[in-house]
């Protein structure tokens, strides 16, 4: 009796969900973040629902199994546009294909999970150390000599490189994170070597999933499109990226605010939007997003910035923007903005300025119903798309991150867009297209 | 709790400390042995102060001085370890058997 009373009480709390994002699963994440019934958590240990959003390639299914097994019992799984793991029992699997039904389905699964015992997900992997070592070797430590053992398959930690900061070497710590680590781009996996919280080595094991853009960017390659729609989509993209950075900075309410602004981008009144955004930017500054949180490091060198393109290049002082060559934009008196420093803080200054600029351009373009003139190149939020789409540049990190503290490294990672551009546009929810141009 | 029992406890701590200081190979563990010896010394000092010294303030003073000595010992010890480690990449006592150059 007592248990059911406890369970009923627990069922009233927001549902703690750990999202494991597959290909094209971001939309689900944004929907979750805005739903007050759901609490998105960053560690699988803190969740009682595993949401797998988007397709998971077969090579990552083992990693997904490991994430699955990290959730503390009782827990269950929910699959959004994704094929469930075959070994999971039917009762522990809920599949959802509609974004609107997602929050409701999560709440319902959670309630069912707490009310009765059916639907609990079982462990998939055996609970045993990957490398047996006990009882082997000279002293039962799995090796020879005083310190030759490799318990759990890990050799004794020894500093392999010179310390990057003050010559005092802490024992190193090497581990792999990803591809479902929620603070990294989906699909990104890397092997990190830390000393204390300084990154010593960073090697990319798998690139992030290609990022899908709004359909209007793809249309712009085929025919002239309304500049207002294009700029609204650009602002939306940057605001959604800002959501991740603000979540990382611990400013949850502002992160949700950014997402709400992003959701009003496609169809909201553009003048109001611009006004809201100015107020929002002021709050960002006042609450220390720049001064307290954003590090002044992670600067791209000239060559790196050029290869990265887009806002990251402009933040490093490289004046390159396809929009400046477009007649439609010229008639709107488009002027390119740049920053000099090229570091994490400059990148966010640049992006926020570009959002404001997008709103301004969209407002004027909407008034005069302006269209783009050229179709052989389009400036996407990820960078210029000429003959080829922007490619994956996550290998930059191997050079950029060593020497940074962990927090600085994650802030730097969140300020960059490294994933390749997906050849297929994002599927838009029904309300988006065309309205804004009217 | 009598002076004798307090001193016996101090003796035990000092004995363990001496064992540790002599037997351990790594600098830091060696310092732990020294700290344990000083621990016993401080306890003995307070014991004397409380039961045989009629509350003479010098007894407490001695303990304060020993605490300061411990802090100094640890700071100097770590500084030496850092210096030696920088110079020779060694952190066990045998490795600096000839500490001349």
């Amino acid at each position: 009796m007592a248990v059911s009373w406890l369970a009923r009480l627990a069922a009233r709390a927001p549902v703690p969900v750990f999202p494991a994002l597959g290909m094209r699963g971001e939309e689900a994440l944004y929907r979750l973040a805005l739903s007050p019934d759901i609490k998105r958590v960053d560690s699988p240990r803190h969740a009682s629902l595993l949401l797998v959003a988007g397709g998971v390639p077969p090579s990552m299914q083992q990693a997904l199994r490991r994430v699955h097994d990290q959730l503390p019992a009782p827990f269950t799984t929910l699959w959004y546009r994704s094929a469930p793991l075959v070994e999971l029992p039917q009762a522990a699997v809920t599949t959802v294909d509609s974004l609107d039904a997602l929050p409701g389905a999560l709440v319902e699964s959670h309630g069912r999970l707490l009310r009765n015992t059916v639907g609990r997900s079982p462990r998939l992997l055996p609970d045993a150390p990957p490398h047996p070592w006990q009882g082997l070797g000279d002293d039962g430590h799995g090796g020879e000599g005083m310190m030759g053992g490799v318990p759990y398959g890990r050799p004794m930690a020894m500093p392999p490189t010179a310390d990057l900061r003050d010559g005092l070497a802490l024992d190193i710590l090497t581990f792999r994170l990803g591809p479902f680590f929620p603070l990294w781009p989906p699909g990104f996996e890397a092997e990190v070597t830390l000393q204390g919280d300084i990154i010593q080595q960073f090697s990319v094991r798998s690139s992030p999933f290609p990022r899908a853009l709004a359909p209007v960017f793809h249309e712009a390659r085929e025919r002239p499109v309304a500049i207002a729609v294009l700029e609204r989509a650009r602002a939306r993209h940057h605001l959604q990226a800002l959501f991740h950075a603000l979540h990382l900075a611990g400013l949850e309410d502002l992160a949700r605010h950014a997402l709400r602004l992003a959701d009003t981008c496609p169809s909201g009144d553009i003048v109001l939007l611009a006004k809201w955004f100015t107020a929002f930017e002021r709050r960002l500054r006042r609450r220390g997003f720049f001064v307290l949180h954003l590090p002044k490091c992670g600067a791209l060198r000239k060559k790196q910035a050029e290869s990265q393109g887009g806002f990251a290049a402009r933040a490093a002082g490289i004046e390159r923007d396809v929009r400046a060559e477009d007649d439609g934009y010229r008639r709107l008196a488009f002027s390119m903005m740049t920053q000099q420093a090229g570091d994490t803080r400059a990148r966010w200054r640049q992006r926020l300025a570009e959002i404001a600029q997008s709103f301004d351009l969209a407002a004027r373009a909407q008034r005069d119903d302006m269209h783009t003139a050229q179709t052989d190149a389009v400036e996407t939020p990820r960078g210029a798309w000429h003959d080829t789409r922007p490619k994956d540049t996550s290998h930059l990190l191997e050079d950029l991150l060593p020497g940074l503290e962990w927090g600085e490294a994650l802030a730097t990672l969140a300020s960059l867009e490294l994933a390749a551009l997906s050849p297929w546009p994002r599927e838009e929810p029904a309300e988006t297209p065309e309205e804004g141009a009217a | 709790m009598t002076l004798t029992t307090v001193l016996l406890l101090a003796a035990a701590l000092i004995g363990i400390g001496i064992y540790g200081a002599l037997s351990q190979q790594s600098f830091v563990m060696l310092m732990m042995g020294l700290e344990l010896i000083l621990n016993g010394v401080m306890l003995a000092a307070v014991g004397f102060w409380a039961m045989s010294g009629a509350g003479a303030p010098e007894g407490q003073l001695l303990t304060i001085v020993v605490m300061a000595v411990m802090a100094i010992e640890m700071a100097m010890g770590f500084a030496l370890v850092v210096a030696v480690y920088r110079g020779k990449q060694a952190d066990v006592t045998e490795a600096i058997a000839d500490l001349r150059h």
Partner: protein, 308 residues
């Protein structure tokens, strides 16, 4: 005698230990509501339902943790918080732990908290928790120094290390006015030691929960509870050292203490989510370059004031 020295003080300490974290959670809920829409079972029930969920969830295990230390760390942190609350004098006679050096004992609780937080992160034997633990140790020493200097400042006019004497020395003027730098510095240290808001570096989002990233179920409940209880103890000591403790007209002393503690908690709950998390490096600079010199100024101020 027994009623005054044992029963009542202990009752208040236990009540503060249980109610304090709960009220802090409620205050947090109010602050969150003022910042954006939240839904759920209502402000008063939300902390309870969260707690119930933690109780239902199983405690997990990590690969080869230092089991005993891992299970003990949250309980030890809670014990330290309870020890801190026991030092708070509720009235002239209602003091659970009335020793001549209670101010120094509070200092040692702060120092031992560093050890316990390190243990929590280290003993899980996983990477992100360990990074959180390192971070806290690197920063914790500077927190302790600042709080020590500020507390020596309030001991000077009282000419005693006992918290009861500190309160009686505020008969004419509360320390918050006499030493205006003291309370702000102490509250910053309070936020830092319980890693909340801008100083949440040990359990931060960039570490997916830091020292508690791999803790679930009842163990997590105890950890979060202990963190809140530590902040409650902080507000109790802040009330005693700077806001005149039981002093105040009309109402009985214990109620005054409770009100002042609630006010401090409300201020801290509001300050917490107001700012972005500071980077560890800037935090070190802030502590050593700005706040520690300010703590010196506070101490010199208190010394000069005591001499005059």
């Amino acid at each position: 005698m027994i009623l005054d020295q044992l029963v009542w003080p202990l009752t208040w300490v236990l009540a503060a230990l249980v109610l304090g974290p709960y009220l802090l959670a409620v205050l947090d809920g109010l602050v969150a509501r003022s910042l954006g829409p939240t839904r759920g079972p209502g402000i008063w029930l939300a902390p309870l339902s969260r707690g119930a969920w933690w109780l239902i969830q199983h405690t997990n295990v990590t690969e080869a943790p230092d089991g005993r230390a891992w299970r003990l760390a949250p309980a030890l942190y809670l014990a330290l918080a309870a020890g801190g609350l026991a030092l708070v004098p509720w009235s002239r006679t209602w003091v659970a732990t009335d020793i001549a050096t209670s101010l120094v004992l509070w200092g040692s609780i702060e120092a031992l908290a560093t050890v316990v937080i390190f243990l929590q992160g280290w003993s899980a034997n996983t990477h992100l928790t360990l990074v959180g633990a390192y971070r806290y140790v690197a920063l914790g020493l500077s927190y302790i120094l600042i709080s020590m200097f500020v507390l020596i400042g309030v001991a000077l006019p009282a000419e005693s290390l006992a918290l009861t004497q500190v309160i009686t020395s505020q008969q004419e003027l509360w320390n918050v006015l006499r030493q205006p730098l003291g309370l702000p510095l102490f509250l910053i240290v309070g936020l830092a030691i319980t890693f909340r808001g801008p100083f949440n570096l040990a359990d931060s989002t960039d570490l997916a929960g830091g020292t508690s990233a791999d803790v679930s179920g009842a163990q997590r409940l105890v950890w979060e509870f202990a963190r809140s209880a530590m902040l409650v103890a902080f507000s109790g000591i802040a009330t005693t050292a700077f806001l005149g403790g039981w002093l105040g007209p009309w109402l009985p002393g214990p109620l005054w203490v409770a009100f002042k503690m609630l006010a401090v908690l409300a201020l801290l709950a509001w300050l917490g989510p107001a700012f972005a998390r500071i980077t560890p490096e800037r935090c070190v600079s802030l502590m050593w370059v700005v706040l520690l010199p300010l703590a010196f100024v506070d101490l010199i101020w208190a010394g000069v004031e005591a001499l005059l």
